[in-house]
C-alpha cells in the first residue's frame, strides 16, 4: 500500500537549493491532510552535513545517498537510484522541482516507474485521498487539473510559487546505500561551464529587462543590469538603442532582431512600436515603464508605470532584492 509524501531534494555543490524547501513545505501540507509522513531523497556528494536543514520545513525522514557517482547530476544515476528506493519503499506521492534537473529527472522517472507525472505545477491539493495538481498549459492561457492514475503520483513544482513554511519535522537523517553500476551510466558530464555573467541568451531567457530610446545613452543600462542580476534576467534593447550604438545588435529584440517569449518582459523607455512588439508580444507578462503616458506599449502591458524609468528602476531593484531573499 503506497503511502507517504516524498520529495526529491536538489542541491548544488553540497548546498540545498531553495526549491528543496518549497518542496518540503508543500509536501508537509499534503502529508498533514493525508495523515502521513514526509520523506526526502537527497543524492549528491558531501551532502550529509546539510541534510538535516530539511527538518525545519517539515521533513520526517531524509534518505541520504552520499556518493561521488551522484555528482554532478546525471539522468541515469539519479533516476536509477530513485527508482530503486521507490520500488523498495512505495511512496504514494513524489514531488520534485520543475528546475532544469528536476524536469529531466521527473520525466525519466515517469517512464521508469510507468506512472503519471504533472509537470511545472502551480498548485497541488488532496482530493479523496489522491493528489490533484493544477498546471498551466498553452503558455498559461489556461490551466488543467490532473491526477495520476497510478502510484507513485509524480508532480514537479514550479520554482518560486510555493511558499516556504517553517514547521518542524522529525528530521531523521538515514544514510542510504544505493548500488549503481557505473558501467550502466551512458551519459557523462564532461564539463561544467559556469556562466561568467550568469546570463542566459535572450531567446531562452525567462525574464528580460529591456531598454529603448528612453534610456538616453549606454550609461543607463547599468541600472538595468543591476535589476537583471537580481531577477536572474537577461538585458535586451530596442532597435533605437542598438542603432544609436548603445547596445550590441545581439541584444536587439524585435521584428528584425530576436523574437523572445519570456515569462516576464520589463520594457523601460520603449515606446512599443509594432516592430518591437512583434519580437516580444508573446511574453507572458509585460511591464512597461515610460514617462510618456501615450506610448503604445501601455496598451499591451499588463502592468505599467508612467514615470521616469531612472527613478523607478533602482526602487524596483531594491524591492525585488528583498522579495527574492
Amino acid at each position: 500500500m503506497a503511502k507517504d509524501v516524498w520529495i526529491i531534494a536538489e542541491q548544488r555543490d553540497g548546498v540545498l537549493r531553495k526549491i528543496s524547501f518549497e518542496l518540503a513545505s508543500t509536501a508537509r501540507k499534503l502529508a498533514d491532510e493525508l495523515g502521513e509522513e514526509v520523506c526526502a531523497v537527497l543524492l549528491g556528494n558531501g551532502v550529509t552535513a546539510g541534510a538535516k536543514d530539511l527538518a525545519k520545513y517539515g521533513v520526517d525522514k531524509i534518505f541520504v545517498a552520499d556518493d561521488a557517482i551522484f555528482a554532478p547530476y546525471t539522468t541515469d544515476a539519479h533516476s536509477e537510484a530513485v527508482a530503486k528506493l521507490v520500488k523498495e519503499k512505495e511512496p504514494a506521492i513524489i514531488l520534485l522541482g520543475a528546475s532544469s534537473q528536476g524536469k529531466d529527472l521527473s520525466s525519466r522517472l515517469a517512464g521508469k516507474l510507468a506512472t503519471g507525472l504533472a509537470t511545472d505545477c502551480t498548485d497541488v491539493k488532496i482530493a479523496a485521498g489522491k493528489m490533484v495538481a493544477v498546471r498551466p498549459v498553452y503558455a498559461g492561457k489556461c490551466f488543467v487539473e490532473v491526477q495520476s492514475a497510478t502510484n507513485p503520483q509524480l508532480a514537479s513544482l514550479r520554482p518560486n510559487v510555493f511558499p516556504v513554511v517553517e514547521k518542524a519535522g522529525a528530521g531523521e537523517v538515514i544514510a542510504t546505500e544505493i548500488a549503481i553500476d557505473p558501467a550502466q551510466l551512458k551519459t557523462k558530464v564532461l564539463e561544467v561551464q559556469k556562466d561568467a555573467s550568469g546570463r542566459v541568451d535572450l531567446t531562452e531567457a525567462l525574464v528580460i529587462v529591456s531598454g529603448g530610446r528612453g534610456m538616453g545613452g549606454p550609461g543607463g543600462y547599468a541600472a538595468l543590469e543591476e535589476l537583471a542580476g537580481i531577477l536572474n534576467a537577461t538585458v535586451g534593447a530596442s532597435r533605437a538603442a542598438v542603432d544609436s550604438g548603445w547596445r550590441p545588435q545581439t541584444d536587439q529584440v524585435g521584428q528584425t532582431g530576436k523574437v523572445v517569449s519570456p515569462n516576464l518582459y520589463i520594457a523601460c523607455g520603449i515606446s512599443g512600436a509594432i516592430q518591437h512588439l512583434a519580437g516580444m508580444s508573446s511574453s507572458k507578462y509585460i511591464v512597461a515603464i515610460n514617462k510618456d503616458s501615450e506610448a503604445p506599449i501601455f496598451s499591451k502591458a499588463d502592468y505599467g508605470i508612467v514615470e521616469d524609468l531612472f527613478k523607478v528602476i533602482p526602487e524596483l531593484t531594491k524591492e525585488c532584492k528583498i522579495l527574492m531573499g
Binding site: P72, T75, S99, S100, Q101, K103, D104, S107, R108, A110, G111, K112, A114, G116, L117, A118, T119, D120, V134, V137, Y138, A139, G140, K141, C142, F143, V144, E145, V146, S148, A149, N160, K186, T187, K188, V189, L190, V192, Q193, D195, D201, T203, E204, V207, N232, L264, S282, Y285, F298, Y303, G304, I305, K311, V312, E315, L316, K318, E319, C320, L323
Partner: protein
Amino acid sequence: MNIIACIKQVPDTEAQIRVKADGSGIEETGIKWVMNAYDEYGVEEALRLKEKNGGEVTVVSLGPARVMETLRTALAMGADKGIHISDPALEDADAYVTASALAAAIKQTPYDIIFCGQRAIDDDAGQVGSILAELLGIPQITVVTKLDVDGTVAKAIRPIEGAQLLIQASLPCLVTTQKGLNEPRYASLPGIMKAKKKPVDVKDAASLGVALDKKLRVLRFVSPPARAAGKIISGDDPAAKAASLAKLLREEAKVI
C-alpha cells in the same frame, strides 16, 4: 546515419485559446495548426546530421488526420519518410501512452539518434522525450542548445541555472531540442512539391500493440481568471509604484 525526429502538431502560439463550456478541453474551431516550434529544431538538426554523415531522416508524429500536413512540412524541409500514428483510440493519449506508441513505431526501424522537442507548446509538459528514451532503453540529453555527433558519441551543451553542462552520451541516444540549437530552414518550393510524393506509413494502435491505459488523467480545463486589461500602477512616488509592481509580479503574476 539513421535519424528520427518526433514532431507534434500544435496550435499556433498566437491562436485564441478558449476553454469549452464543459471544461473538457479547448475549442478547436478556427485554430491554425503548426509544427511545435521546439520540434523544428529537432528536424533541422536531423537534416544537418544527414547532410554531414549521409543516411536517412524519418519523422514520426502521433495525432489525427490533420497531422499529415505537418509531416509533409518536415518532408518538405528534407526528411525522407514519415510515420503517422493515427487512431481515434489515441485521441486523448497522455505522455506515457504517446511515448509507448512512438516507441513501438520506432522499434521497427533502425536508429542512431532520436530528436524530440524539449516540450510541446500546447501541454507544456516536456515528458514524452524522456519516457520514450526510457522505454527504448537509451540515454537522454535534454534541453540541448548545441550538439556534436561524432561516430558513436554525442556531445551536447545543456544550460542549467547559472551554468552550462557539456554532456556526452553514447549512441543510440535521445536528444530533446531547445531554442538556439539551430535556425530551422524554410522549405524550398521544390522541396514542398517533392514532399507530396515521399512515403508516409500510417499506423494504428492495434498494429503497434500499444496499451491504451493512461497514467495521467485530465480532470478538467480551467480558464485563468480574466486578466485585467493592464493596469497603470498608481502611487505617491516612484518608490511606492515600484513596490506595488514588485508585489504584483510576485503575488499576482507569479513570475519572480
